[in-house]
Each structure stands twice: as C-alpha cells, then as structure tokens.
Symmetry: C2
Subunit: 399 residues, 2 copies
C-alpha cells in the first residue's frame, strides 16, 4: 500500500450495521473532525435528489461541521417525507455518538433507490461506529470500504505540502459510479484537510474542483440522485489566502482527479480505461462538451471494446456536441496513430491499431482543434468501454 | 403485404451497382418525379455532415426537383473535397439518365464513414437504374431495399385522403438507424406526394413533421452525419392552403411516425420496442426532453433487457433531463403497473412485472406530470433495449 499522508485531526470508522445482509461487509462509515471545520459541498444536479443530499444542502456551507455519517446499500432516494426524517435522524444519532449538535453532522447514502432505510439497524450501527473511531490508515481504510457499493476496491488519495510555511495535508476518499451505476445512486467523495480555509473560500472552490475532476468522468452519462462531494477544512490559525489558497485548490483538484480516475478505472465490466484529450477549442467548456459527447457515445464505447478503430464514430460524436467547428478544424489520434487530419481520413493499418487496442487496457484518444490556442480550450476526460459484462451486470440489478 | 396507396407521378428503381460485394444485394436507388416537384428537407444537426447532405442543403427548398439518387454501403462522409465532387457527380449522372438539369436532382448516401465512393461502379449503376424505373409497388419495394444497411426489412408507409375535393396520396419509405447505428450514417427517409404544395409551405412543415416523428426515436442518442428527410410534392393546380394544408401536414406526420416506429422496432439486437409516453409537462419541448433522457439511458435500456422493473432508473433519468419539477409532480407506470405515484414508491409484485417484461416484446412506460394540462405538454417517444447482441454487433463493424 502506498504511504498515506493523513490530514490531522480526523477520525474514521467503518462497521457492519446490518443494512447489508453479508455480515462481513461494512455498510456504515463515520468521519469526525476533532474541531469544528469549515465545510462545503457539490451535489447532483438531478431534480430527483436523495434525502441526505437535501439535508447537506440545507447545512452547507458551514463554519462548524463536525463530521459525516454515510450508509451504503440504500440510497434513501425517492423516499418522500419518511426519507427526510430518516436522513435527519442519522445525523442526530451520529451527533449523539460524538457529542455535538445534530446540525454539525452531514449525511450521505448510496445504493438502491426507492427503499426506506432500516433505521432499526442503522441507529445502533451509528452508535457502534462512534465507539470505534480511529486516526490511522486502517481506520480510514475501514471507512473507505464501508461506503463502497459495486466498486471492487477502495479509492483513497492524499497529499502533503507546505503552504505559507505550514505543512498542510489532504485526505480524499471516494466510491464510484463504477461501470455499472447501481441504480444511479452512485458517486460519493470526501476531501478532508487540516489547512485553515474559510467556509466561503471552500464553497467557492468546491464546484471548480469538481469540474476538473468528477465532472470529467462518465460511465453512461446517467446523473445520480446522490452524487456528492464534501470538503472539510479543520485547520486553526490564519486562513489561507492568495497564492497559498490557489495552491491548496490545485492540490484538492489533484486529489479529486486521482479519485475520479480510480472510479473510471474500477468500472466493473469494463475492459478499457479510455482517456479523452481535447485541445484547441475556444474555451474549457467547449472542450468539455466535446469530450463528454465522445465519452457518452455507446458506439464509441462498443468500438473500443471490440478493438475496432472506427474513428468515424469519434469524429461524428464530436460533431453533435453542440460546438461550432468545421471538419478541417479537427485532427484525431488514437494512441500514437494519426487517423484523421484536418478533415481528411489518413491511411492507417487497421490490423495494427486493432492489435494495439486489444493489448492495452488503457487507451487514449486525442482530438486537436484549431479553434483557439492549444493551451486555452482543453479538457481531459475519463470513461470506459461498453462490454457484455456491463449489460449483464445492469440487466439484473434489483431482481 | 398491406395495400400501398402510391402517390401518382413517381417512378422508382433499385439495383445492384457493385458498391456492395454481395451481387444479390441492391445498393443504389433512384426516385423520379415525372414533373418538377416542390421539395424541402430536414438534415442532421451534426457539425460533421456528409457531402450529399451539403449538396441537398444547397438545393433546397426547390420548386423544380425531379428526383433523388441514393447509394447504400458508403456514407460519403468525412471525405473532403473529393466527397463533394462525387456527390455532385452522382446527381449529374442521374440527371443525364432521366433528362433534366443536375441541380434538379437530390442525392443521399448511407453506410461506412470515411471511405471514398467507388464512382467507377456507381456511375454505371445510376445509368442502369435510370433504365429500370417502374411505377408499381414492386419498383418501390426495390428502391426501399436498395437504401437499407443493417435493417432487416424495408420500411414503407402510405396514405390516401381527399383534400379540397381531390384525392391526395403520400408514399413514404425509410431506412433505419436500427439498433446498431452502423458508423452512424444512419437514417434516411423520403415522403413523396401528388398533392400540390408550395415549396415554402413544404419547407415550413418539414421540421415540424420531423419533430413529431424521427426526432422522437432514439437508439443510442448518437446523431448521424447523414440523417436526411426529403419531402417532394409534384401536384399540379391549386396549391393546398388552410385546413387542407394542415390536414396534409398531419398525414405526412403520420407517415413519418409509421416509419420512425418501424425503425425502432427493427433495431437489430433489440429484444424490446419501448414506447415512452410523457404527459402533463408545461409544453411539448419539456415532454420531449424528458422522454429522450429516459430513452437514451443505458441503465433504463439494460433494465428492460433484463426484465428488471428498476423504476428508480426511469425516475432519475427524468430528473436530469433539464426540466424543473418536484418528485411529487411525477407518477410512473410500466405497462399497467403503477410503480411511483406523486413522488412515492408504490408497492408492486416485482416477479409479476418482470414476467410481463419477459413476455412482451413491446413495452410502454408512462410518465405523468402535474406541471400543465395533460393535453398540452406531451410526447410519444420510441426506443429499444440494450442487449448483448447490440454490443456484439457494434464491437466489430468495420474490422
């Protein structure tokens, strides 16, 4: 295991509450900050959002968050007024367990949509987790396990750096949409730091961090009801400003990009991690739109699965992204292979490219436009291929 | 075979030119109007569009169109300046064959993207087709065969009606995106009528007809480089106006809706034709956005394939369609089964619904909103499920 540089002043627990039938499977996580922390979040844009998302939205940004309680296996989405009461109750139980006000606790859920939470097991589960909090990597790993649904491994990324003469650490962990987007109540991510950051600064950077990380992965383009990124900063003393604040945001973005890439790479059923690089558009938003259109195309994804260098699918997906360009503005590489140059198909050895696709689990496609300076409009996007296994896993999830 | 009411004054041919290797497979169609006809079109919105689409756009609307020449097996897309010259040359050869000016001919192609047209077989093929034109159903069927790519059957729909005291007929035929969207150069549709309609009226109604038919089907949401709908009206005498013109537009919409539904039903690899009914939104555009989000969701499509009544996927797809609503605005039925009522999950027998999904090739889902009067904001949308066979067919198309 790589060395983790854990942010100071946080404790973690992951336990089996009984929400999941398998007694060996953790299903409830608790994260606690020893001090009140600045906190901000970014949430799903879905009109249908889960009860815990509503509760977090009410409470953020905050200057005095004390922690997060998370359950997996049940999304607490589409659950009406009872769902809202249950989400609030989860926060209340966690607050009792660690000794703070209920409003200081944040709450997340992930799993099947449309089922009521089994509060009779969750309440004692939260109490048990509060009794098992630890500060070390093992404790973090238990919490990181407890939030997983169909992920095959935990996703953790940390950073350590000196800002304004002080060592600052960031701890990030996440669970994925994975390829199989189980009922869509999918992505959760948490970034905890011992840096001192104001709630307002944290709230301002949160969507920017998400834009360059979690908003640049796609499995099947289905926005979850539960997607949540929470940032907590519990540092004391002088708050970061200026360049130091900017460097901190960069580090938070790197942590989230690590987690985002890990989510795409752990897509169950996927044979390939696909990296899509778009450059030379007029701005980032255009590059992002094009990358997402390519990433969401079932035809592109099945072609990669089939090791078929069917570049017309990539070019035409770019064409319907809603960005104005002429074909002569576009050049396309698949790996090192130049397939399409300024609007013209290039001769290439299809068998060679196909063999390359077969032999590499990670493949990159690069779309270079001549709409603006290359350094300006650019985006890196991650997705995965569409396989038999994806269909199998998703064809039979609830029944 | 059902009885076709063919529009008068049109001749058809379908031949094997050699563009496709199989000598028994037609690959070139010619449609000729005996008189100059009003003509209008609707084309792909893709920035990357095929050469024949560009040629048609230049020539439409027109008051003196004489016909359409169509080849299948090659899209003539992403083919640069040579592709434009080839598309114009196809029209020229057809014009020579029937004796009119080149500008009076329209041209379409469908098939693989990024390959140059084999003009050495297409030119004699067009001449051969011009020598084999016929007016009867068999001739139409040959033309309808010649435009197919991966479709398993021809798609024809006709109407006959009396407008302003005159019998009017419409002949429609199309080829599909099918489920397997071969390189995306997919949908072509043609509606020919012996009604007298002005070019301007035809041009105005064309996008409205498409909106209620071809824009309401989706296979994987990948917009083709070649999608084209052409309307030709060769009637003489007083042109339709007022109510009669409106009735004509209704009939044209019905013909196109028949063809659209046939395209979704003929989706190769598909086990289910899925009808999505949305009603009670503020307007048609909202209903259409929601229906399309549900139709394009890989998670919804795999669930139907797996006979899994996973209604959370449908509700959450509606939630990210970009339409403002509250969960309590939405009620959902799958077939006759009420699964979600005004924001609350309803108890249902999952095994019973699953059995119903297994035993029915055609399944309907109905999303009723309380955002406006039911009759106002509504849309019917067709799609199909996502199956192993879809992945197999698309994983290996060009290689």
């Amino acid at each position: 295991m790589e060395t983790w540089h854990l942010a100071r002043g946080y404790r973690y627990a992951g336990v089996h509450s009984g929400l999941r039938p398998d007694p060996n499977r953790f299903d409830l996580a608790l994260v606690v900050s020893d001090r009140p922390a600045a906190a901000a979040g970014v949430f799903t844009q879905n009109r249908v959002c889960a009860a815990p998302v509503r509760v977090c939205r009410e409470r953020l940004p905050s200057a005095e968050a004390r922690g997060i309680v998370i359950c997996s296996g049940n999304a607490n989405a589409c659950t009406g007024g009872q769902g809202m009461r249950d989400a609030r109750r989860m926060a209340e139980c966690a607050a009792q367990g660690i000794g703070c006000r209920a409003e200081q606790m944040l709450v997340c859920s992930t799993g099947v949509i449309g089922r009521m939470l089994p509060m009779e097991v969750i309440e004692p589960g939260i109490a048990a987790a509060a009794g098992k909090l630890g500060v070390d990597a093992d404790a973090l790993a238990r919490a990181a396990h407890a939030i997983l649904t169909t992920d095959t491994r935990i996703k953790v990324s940390t950073r350590s750096m000196v800002l304004d003469g002080t060592e600052v650490r960031l701890t990030g962990f996440a669970k994925g949409a994975a390829m199989i987007g189980p009922n869509m109540a999918t992505m959760l991510a948490f970034v905890l730091t011992d840096a001192a950051v104001s709630p307002d600064d944290l709230a301002e950077m949160a969507p920017q961090v998400a834009e360059r990380s979690f908003n640049s992965i796609s499995v099947e383009g289905h926005t979850s009801t539960n997607d949540t990124l929470l940032l907590l900063a519990n540092g004391e003393g002088r708050r970061l400003t200026g360049v130091a604040l900017f460097q901190f945001q960069q580090a938070a973005t790197e942590v989230c990009a690590d987690l985002a890439r890990a989510i795409a790479a752990d897509a169950e059923g996927a044979n390939h991690l696909i990296t899509i690089e778009v450059e030379g558009t007029r701005n980032h938003a255009e590059a992002h739109r094009i990358a997402k259109a390519v990433a969401d195309s079932a035809l592109v994804k099945t072609a990669i699965f089939g090791a078929d260098p069917n570049w017309g699918r990539i070019v035409s997906a770019a064409g319907y992204a809603g960005v104005d360009f002429e074909e002569s503005d576009l050049t396309l590489w698949l790996g090192e292979f130049l397939l399409y140059e300024r609007g013209k198909p290039m001769p290439f050895d299809a068998a060679q490219v196909s063999a390359w696709l077969k032999n590499n689990r990670e493949v990159a496609m690069r779309l270079r436009f001549t709409l603006g300076p290359p350094s300006l409009g650019r985006c890196t996007f991650y997705t995965c291929d569409l396989t038999y296994e994806y269909v199998r896993l998703n064809a039979d999830y609830t029944t």
